[in-house]
């Protein structure tokens, strides 16, 4: 028996040389069914058109939310943190007794 890689190559080469069927015409039934399906889905198409816009709007909303959180964090007065720290220390003291 010949080397198998050679056999496989020759087999694939011969198979690639097999004549191909002509594409012919698009079957009417397929055309009709596809077009009917396409006609029935205009609402879906409109949503698909809106999808990139909605994605951008969502990204902008997320950015604004992050900015608002950052600004609110920076504007929180230091005193309120200290009040919480004192309260926390009192509680810890009470618990340790």
């Amino acid at each position: 028996m010949k080397a198998n890689h050679s056999c496989l190559d020759r087999l694939l080469k011969a198979a690639a040389g097999a004549p191909r069927r002509e594409p012919g015409e698009l079957p009417f039934a397929v055309e009709a069914r596809v077009l009917a399906h396409w006609r029935q889905a205009p609402a879906e198409r409109q949503w698909l058109m809106l999808a990139p816009l909605l994605r951008r709007a969502l990204a902008c909303a997320c950015l604004l939310m992050a900015l608002a959180m950052a600004v609110s964090f920076l504007q929180t007065p230091r005193a309120s943190f200290e009040e919480w720290a004192t309260l926390n220390a009192d509680v810890n003291l009470a618990l340790s007794r």
């Binding site: 028996m1 010949k2 198998n4 890689h5 050679s6 056999c7 496989l8 020759r10 087999l11 694939l12 080469k13 011969a14 198979a15 690639a16 040389g17 097999a18 004549p19 191909r20 069927r21 594409p23 012919g24 015409e25 698009l26 079957p27 039934a29 397929v30 055309e31 069914r33 596809v34 077009l35 399906h37 396409w38 006609r39 889905a41 205009p42 879906e44 198409r45 698909l48 058109m49 999808a51």
Partner: protein, 199 residues
């Protein structure tokens, strides 16, 4: 009635724009323009139990439902090829891989091809090409869908690695690795088959 499509002077962008606006004639023309490409791909990767028409219909439905996502950065044919290849792959994944091919599964013509392969080192004559393709199809039916796809595209359709990458969306190294592994499996199948008949 079949619309007359001028394949050479056809303007894909204008047609797609009109389809997006809901023009039915443009949708029909788009289908007729793309049909030769789609049918070629479907026939090359057709799963055993799926009808050609059903798969063509599935591909066109996917094309129309995703037409809004077509940005025009790649040629329309490449975009449609990828949809068609993925539709075939999905369909192939629903099929169970067949067990090992035995000598008894071969037709008379396929037996002659196998005998010729084992007997000589020469290329097979043109009269054996159709039977060779049938034998290769039987061997491919024993591989998984990805392996079958990569062998068909690279070795039967003569596409380049770059073209396979475009059609499947796989990376270049993945195409090469899959092709290598698929060839190994195919070689093993062929070896087993030829050894079965060795006197």
């Amino acid at each position: 009635m079949q619309p007359q499509v001028d394949h050479e002077n056809w303007d894909a962008r204008a047609c797609i724009r009109m389809v997006r606006q809901g023009d039915e004639e443009a949708a029909r023309a788009l289908m007729h323009q793309l049909y030769p490409l789609v049918i070629k791909l479907v026939r090359a990767h057709l799963p055993r139990r799926t009808s050609e028409e059903d798969l063509v219909q599935t591909v066109f439905m996917k094309v129309f439902s995703r037409l809004e996502q077509f940005s025009g950065t790649v040629p329309l044919e490449h975009w449609v090829s990828r949809i068609a290849v993925n539709a075939c792959l999905t369909q192939l994944q629903h099929e169970r891989v067949r067990p090992e091919l035995r000598w008894a599964d071969l037709s008379e013509e396929e037996e002659h091809v196998a005998q010729a392969l084992a007997a000589t080192n020469a290329d097979l004559p043109a009269s054996h090409h159709v039977a060779s393709r049938e034998l290769v199809d039987k061997l491919l039916a024993r591989l998984n869908p990805e392996d079958r796809l990569v062998i068909t595209l690279l070795y039967l359709e003569g596409r380049s690695v770059e073209e396979v990458r475009e059609a499947t969306g796989w990376s270049r190294p993945l195409v090469k690795v899959r092709a290598f592994r698929a060839r190994q499996k195919l070689r093993k199948q062929l070896q087993t088959l030829l050894q079965e008949h060795r006197p």
